[in-house]
Amino acid sequence: MPERDEQELFARGHRACPGCGEAIATRWILKATGRNVIIVSPTGCLETFTSPYMFSPWRVPWIHPLFENGAAVASGIEAALKHKGRQEIRVVVIGGDGATFDIGIGGLSGMFERGHRVVYICYDNEAYMNTGNQRCSSTPLFASTTTEPAGRLFPGKNRPKKDMASIAIAHGIDYVATTSVAYPKDLFNKVQKALTMIGPSYIQVHTPCVGGWGYPSEKTVEIGRLAVESGLVPLFEWQEGRIVNFHKIRKKVPVTDYLKPQKRYSHLFAEDRGKAELECLQAMADRNIERFGLAGLSGSSTTEADTA
């Protein structure tokens, strides 16, 4: 993998917040794609911080169309490349959870169903972070957002996170994976694997957000790891009708280790008010661990060396 900045396809100098999970993810995604790629970024943080007019950190062809049409625009690019006989060029969408789970889900479903050779990567920071932490269907249960804030009557979001990976799986596409910015080698490997598919693939990258989640900027990777090791965010790969690989949890941590450092969950720790909610989230994590068999070291897809 290239070391020096001149060899990075995602150059430094962009305007992301310090500690931005998306910037880390994007850099690793481009390490995996190499130069022979066209990137589509629907509206979101990534587009905003990388494309102030006349400046660009993108050393690969890149287009920002609209908020809700990343998958459709990628479909058109892929069709054009097919027409030109340039199918060696790969088409990759990097879109946020708002563009993916909410406003763009119709077009994404269309792209999956038509079977375009497109790798769709969702950087999932679990709310509308570009506009300042508004509720999305990707927002997890009990997280406080500005449009569904925790208050005397409500403990933050009152519904669980939409299971977007299962929706992708239900389309019967070639490859579905979840990964995390905290495990860059896992992210890299999964993107490389997706690029070998003939049809569509979907990768969801759990992406901590310093400003939106409310934690110190040096803790992005730590927070990301705690999410996975608590069992709240299972990392897996799905292919040919079944889940083929899980990221096993090395050392299970209680969900409070993950939740407590984040401002979006601070209402759960004020006095005794969040006790029931915390129990509910712990039960959710335990269910994930049981359902997916996440406990134990064997069969781990990542190694000790795979730390950021």
């Binding site: 066209i38 169309p65 609209l66 479909s75 690019i77 069709a79 097919k82 119709g106």
Partner: protein, 394 residues
């Protein structure tokens, strides 16, 4: 020149599009656009047309798909109507801003509510501010010829704007008319393969769709308007080359009909103009000094041509098949702006033919007589007159 064939309007359009060899076609079905995209799908399925045909999940996606194809440097096409065009609107603005020369057929149909599948111009008129070049055609032959010229105009390196041929639903898409086709060889001479300067290419990585603020956004928007102005010259040049190569009449900004010495000028767009011409003939026979201006190109609006054609007349009657709610007929507003430096003619605005309500020769005659009476009174004219409203319903 070849002998005319009797063709359905939709088939004439499909044949024109096929002869322009788009690399990517994408569409979503909506009446009355459907026949066009069905014919194209058949041509692709049979191997007659070597295009990627992407069946979209919505009109929004169809427009987005051809946007992506165009950004990747490939000639691209879609067609829609009514609600479908409204759903495409966000993409159309974006395509103009990104300077992508996609070609559309806008098959005219009323806008809901109330829902109706019948023809009027409300759908395409609502796109007037987007940066989309728009032509309105009168018959099948014009529809055929205009599509071929549209690709050439849209893709011109000095223009690079999305372009739409607007044609009346049912009347033109489903009616059968004689249409003279052009040999493929001649079309190939007129329209070269599309080789854009800027497109998504790993060998020359460019950034498209940047974020802009007050230091640059105004300039970028102004450049769209500058291209629109330039398009007025280009249209004339391209039309003359089209005529030279194919022998067919090229597209025009406006067409004048029996305007010599006319006291009253009627003005309209689309298939209704055929009836208006017939009405003008009858009124001329009766000694009424009336003529007609057909607005062929609506965006860019041919203000100069309209100014020249109307100068000398006492009144202009603009027939709109759509409305700007809270204001007036959209075409009449543009005509008033174009003539604002002239004391005469007076401009009268009429709203007609919504949801396909028939506009007959008699309707036109009545409108003309209203205008002739209006000129002689000193009343100030404001707003639009809605023609033949059924008062018992209001």
């Amino acid at each position: 020149m070849k002998k005319a064939e009797i063709l359905e309007g939709s088939m004439a359009v499909a044949l024109a599009v096929k002869s322009c060899k788009p690399g990517v076609i994408s569409a979503y079905p909506i009446s009355p656009q459907t026949h066009i995209v069905e014919y194209l799908a058949k041509m692709v399925a049979s191997g007659e047309l070597k295009s990627e045909y992407v069946v979209a999940d919505s009109e929004f996606s169809a427009a987005s798909i051809i946007y992506g194809a165009s950004a990747a440097g490939v000639r691209s096409y879609t067609a829609s109507s009514s609600q479908g065009l409204l759903l495409m609107t966000e993409v159309i603005y974006n395509a103009a801003g990104t300077r992508l020369p996609m070609v559309f057929t806008g098959v005219n149909r009323a806008i809901s509510a109330p829902i109706s599948i019948q023809v009027d111009h409300q759908d395409t008129l609502s796109l007037r501010d987007s940066g989309l070049i728009q032509f309105y055609v009168e018959n099948g032959q014009e529809a055929y010829d205009a599509h071929i010229q549209a690709f050439r105009l849209a893709e011109d390196s000095e223009i690079l704007l999305p372009t739409m041929i607007c044609m009346d639903g049912w009347v033109l898409t489903h009616g059968y008319e004689p249409v003279e086709l052009i040999d493929q060889e001649l079309i190939d001479t007129f329209l070269s393969p599309y080789h854009p300067i800027h497109y998504l290419d790993p060998e020359n990585p460019l950034t498209f769709g940047s974020y802009a603020e007050d230091d640059i956004l105004m300039e970028l928007k102004y450049m769209i308007q500058a291209a629109m102005d330039q398009a007025k010259k280009k249209i004339v040049e391209i039309a003359s080359e089209f005529h030279r190569i194919t022998g067919h009449s090229g597209m025009r900004l406006v067409e004048t009909y029996r305007t010599e010495g006319a006291e009253v000028l009627l003005m309209g767009m689309g298939s209704m103009v055929g009836t208006m011409k017939e009405a003008v003939d009858r009124m001329r026979e009766d000694g009424i000094a009336v003529g007609l201006i057909k607005v062929c190109c609506y965006r860019p609006f041919p203000s100069e041509a309209i100014f020249e054609s109307c100068n000398g007349a006492r009144a202009v009657a603009v027939l709109d098949q759509g409305f700007s709610m809270g204001s007036e007929g959209p075409l009449s507003l543009d005509v008033k702006a174009a003539l604002s430096n002239l004391k005469t003619p007076a401009v009268f605005s009429f709203i007609t033919g919504l949801a396909g309500r028939e506009v007959t020769i008699e309707t036109i005659q009545r409108i003309t007589s209203t205008v002739r009476k209006g000129i002689d009174s000193d009343q100030i004219i404001r707003g639009s007159q809605w023609v033949d409203l059924n008062q018992s319903i209001l």
